[in-house]
């Protein structure tokens, strides 16, 4: 008989690997992407693919450059970054936008910090913020759903003065202009349920994030106190995509449940502030990026309580 293996305990594993987690998240994101492609046409599918390929290639080239094992790209994290980046792009962007965005996401957002697990900011949001600042025109040229006759140059619901044009049902199903992945709330919620029931994410960040936005927009969003249209703020824009899929990114959110609640509330406050008082209609991605920077601080002050050590 051959040699016996000696290794530290435990000798059994849960079977849930990082790779599997990434693929489950990708799977959970697919319904929203399919809805986006259905609403905005086949061109948005091309944007998604270009973004993913750009991310994978950037990762492969950079890993080669860092003399690391390039097989790491198979862990699915680059694909996930590309997918989330594409979901944050308008469907009519020129094709070089996702190429640049993917490269910036992976190289500046992730690999320069040391690769998977070491980045401070959500890589996809770094890419999006870069594109937003560099080419604001492309990033805010929206397209109506393909069944609306005047196709291009409609603004998102959030940018309009009043929301009179949109019923809640239109907003919920995604029948309006917006980014590829953020418009169809129904499909995003299906994905979110997959994540919560497979225990990939906990409810802490989405609940506190969305809850804070709802409360603040209800109080301050209208002409007087408690007159804001919080359902509109919930359904329009990228709040659901951000709260369930971007703020919950393991690497860039706090470790403990208490920390996650604080993180979510912080994201909610900043989102409401940017939406209600800022000049820019959408605040989710900047709010998450800002709170990402706060994570080490939150982690420091929200340690767990250890068994056998009294609270004093």
């Amino acid at each position: 008989m051959n040699n016996l293996t000696v290794s530290p305990a435990p000798h059994i594993k849960s079977g849930l690997t990082t790779q599997r987690i990434m693929w489950i998240v990708i799977l959970a994101l697919l319904p929203a992407g399919l809805a986006g492609v259905y609403i905005f046409g086949i061109r948005s599918l091309k944007v998604i693919f270009i973004s993913i390929i750009s991310c994978i290639l950037s990762e492969a080239i950079f890993l080669k450059f860092r003399q690391r094992d390039t097989r790491i790209i198979l862990d699915g994290s680059a694909i996930l970054t590309g997918l989330i980046l594409a979901y944050n792009l308008p469907p009519e962007v020129p094709f070089w936008i996702p190429v640049v965005g993917g490269a910036v996401s992976i190289i500046i957002g992730k690999q320069l910090f040391g690769g998977l697990g070491h980045n401070i900011f959500n890589p996809a949001l770094v890419g999006r913020a870069f594109l937003q600042i560099s080419w604001p025109v492309y990033m805010t040229t929206w397209k109506n759903p393909r069944w609306v006759l005047d196709a291009v140059s409609s603004a998102t619901p959030l940018a309009k003065e009043k929301a009179v044009n949109f019923s809640y049902m239109d907003l919920f199903l995604g029948n309006h202009g917006g980014c590829i992945g953020e418009v169809c709330i129904l499909m995003l919620l299906i994905g979110a349920l997959i994540l919560i029931f497979t225990n990939i994410i906990s409810f802490h960040i989405p609940a506190s994030f969305i809850g804070t936005v709802v409360v603040l927009t209800w109080i301050f969003g209208g002409d007087g106190f408690f007159k804001g249209d919080f359902v509109f703020h919930l359904l329009a824009g990228g709040l659901v995509l951000g709260a369930f899929f971007m703020a919950t990114d393991y690497v860039t959110c706090p470790l403990t449940n208490k920390g996650k609640l604080i993180f979510g509330i912080g994201c909610g406050i900043l989102t409401s502030l940017i939406r209600l008082k800022g000049s820019y209609p959408e605040g989710v991605s900047y709010a998450i990026l800002f709170m990402n920077a706060m994570v080490p601080l939150i982690d420091r002050y929200t340690k767990t309580r250890i068994y056998g050590i009294s609270k004093t």
């Binding site: 305990a9 987690i21 393991y250 470790l255 056998g308």
Partner: protein, 462 residues
């Protein structure tokens, strides 16, 4: 089935309490639910193990100072003859597990620390007892007499740690013990030896409980058994009626099946909602915890004067024709025990790992000649399917934090160790780790967190 006095299916809760428990369970998980694999052996009756030709009795079978040999090479010993004596208070006696001749006192394989001095005995195949086999009711003994018998019999905690039992039975003066907890949780996957013992020897266990309760002077005893062993709960509950009542209140409580429910500190928290202070012993919250196998050994020691030289272990895993629960002699080699279960070492070339103990905390062995010790609860043979994948970077998923029964943050301790920062490591209290392995089990990046925490402990102590 039994009256509520003996068998509590957890007391009836109000709605508010149930709601509180649900919320608490969502907020603080702190346990994991690994697959059990207990079906392999849970219906296998305990079989008397093989009488080995040669036993290797290592002198360090327990926590504390190693015992000192009192025999010389060439001495003739009987089964149960004292061969090594306790050295100091926290130490334990050692007895021969076969009758025969001492052939060597030399360094030999040790399942936990690799190698240690051991007494090797060649069996004469007679298995003559050195002790008198005749029943006596131990209830007329005084508490000092019971503790002396336990000490002489070399009984240590059989749950795994091997802490000398007579030390547990003599709490330091000034510490009032109000509850005796009997640990029948057996939360490790695969193992079913405690389960079988509770099914087959319930009256003996109850008698042993009475003896320990008498030694400690407590009236309140709680037996905690996980709900995947309902038959054992039933058996122990009904045995309570058949054993002479001496005024000790025994409750059998059904516990949730979760890992590590059988950890001493976790069991106390679950049953009594008390927390053993950091770095302290259960004495300090007024309880003493004993494993059911230890209880059975105490019963045998008091009623038959039988020293601890054999124990029930579970032998399971791949490549075994007949997984079994075996009453095995201490010092038997893994090879003898596996062959007893229909294992042929030469024909199984793709055997991957042999683990002594449970799969969560057990120690993998490199040789089939390693002997079992008093604390060995099982032998598992594993195949390649149990290969652990390559380690990759931590993605901060916080699964280790939510699974840690001690409330630690294993990933942060691990990072601190990797960057060699003892200040960071110390701020996360690694010394409170009970090394249950839950964090490594759940880690999706295959980081050996328990190992890193063991290093962290060394860093903090240094």
């Amino acid at each position: 089935m039994s009256s509520p006095e003996v068998y509590f299916n957890l007391k009836r809760l109000s709605r508010a309490e149930i709601f509180y428990i649900i919320i608490k369970n969502i907020l603080i998980m702190n346990f994991i639910h690994p697959p059990e694999f207990k079906g392999l052996t849970r219906h296998k009756k305990i079989e008397k193990g093989p009488l080995p030709e040669r036993v290797v009795l290592t002198l360090s079978q327990h926590t504390g100072a190693p015992s000192e040999p009192v025999v010389k090479v060439g001495d003739i010993v009987q089964t149960g003859t004292l061969i090594a004596q306790a050295k100091g208070f926290i130490s334990s006696n050692l007895h021969s597990s076969v009758s025969g001749k001492v052939v060597a006192i030399e360094n030999a394989l040790h399942p936990v620390i690799g190698g240690f001095k051991a007494i090797v005995i060649q069996s004469d195949g007679q298995d003559n007892n050195a002790f008198l086999v005749s029943y006596r009711d131990g209830l007329d003994l005084s508490r000092e007499e019971i503790i002396d018998i336990v000490k002489d019999a070399g009984i240590v905690g059989l749950g795994g740690a091997g802490f000398p039992t007579h030390v547990k039975l003599s709490p330091p003066p000034g510490k009032k013990i109000d509850t005796l907890i009997i640990n029948g949780a057996e939360c490790e996957p695969y193992l079913s030896c405690d389960h079988r013992l509770m099914l087959e020897k319930p009256k003996e266990i109850i008698a042993g409980i009475y003896l320990i309760a008498k030694a400690l002077g407590v009236n309140n005893v709680i037996v905690g058994i996980e709900e995947n062993k309902l038959d054992a709960i039933e058996n122990l509950g009904s045995a309570l009626f058949m054993v002479k009542d001496i005024g000790v209140k025994v409750k059998v409580i059904r516990l949730k099946t979760r890992y590590p429910q059988g950890g001493e500190k976790q069991l106390i928290k679950t049953l009594l909602n008390r927390e053993v202070p950091s770095g302290g012993l259960p004495f300090e919250v007024g309880c003493v915890v004993n494993n059911v196998q230890t209880v059975f050994a105490i019963y045998e020691a008091v009623c038959f004067r039988k020293p601890l030289y054999e124990r029930v272990i579970t032998i399971a895993g791949s490549f075994l024709a007949k997984p079994k629960n075996v009453l095995a002699r201490i010092g038997t080699s893994i090879k003898d025990l596996l062959e007893f279960c229909g294992f042929n070492a030469s024909s199984n070339s793709d055997i991957y790992k042999i683990v002594m103990g449970g799969p969560m905390t057990g120690i993998s062995q490199y040789s089939l000649d390693t002997p079992i010790i008093k604390g060995t609860s099982g032998i598992l043979v594993m195949d390649r399917r149990f290969k652990v994948g390559d380690e990759i970077s931590c993605i901060r998923c916080s699964r280790c934090i939510s699974s840690c029964p001690a409330g630690l943050m294993p990933c942060m301790i691990g990072n601190g160790v990797k960057f060699n920062r003892s200040d960071i490591v110390a701020s996360f209290n690694p010394l409170d780790c009970i090394e249950c392995g839950a964090c490594s089990y759940v880690c999706p990046s295959n980081i050996p967190l328990v190992q890193l925490i063991k290093l962290a402990k060394a860093m903090v102590k240094a």
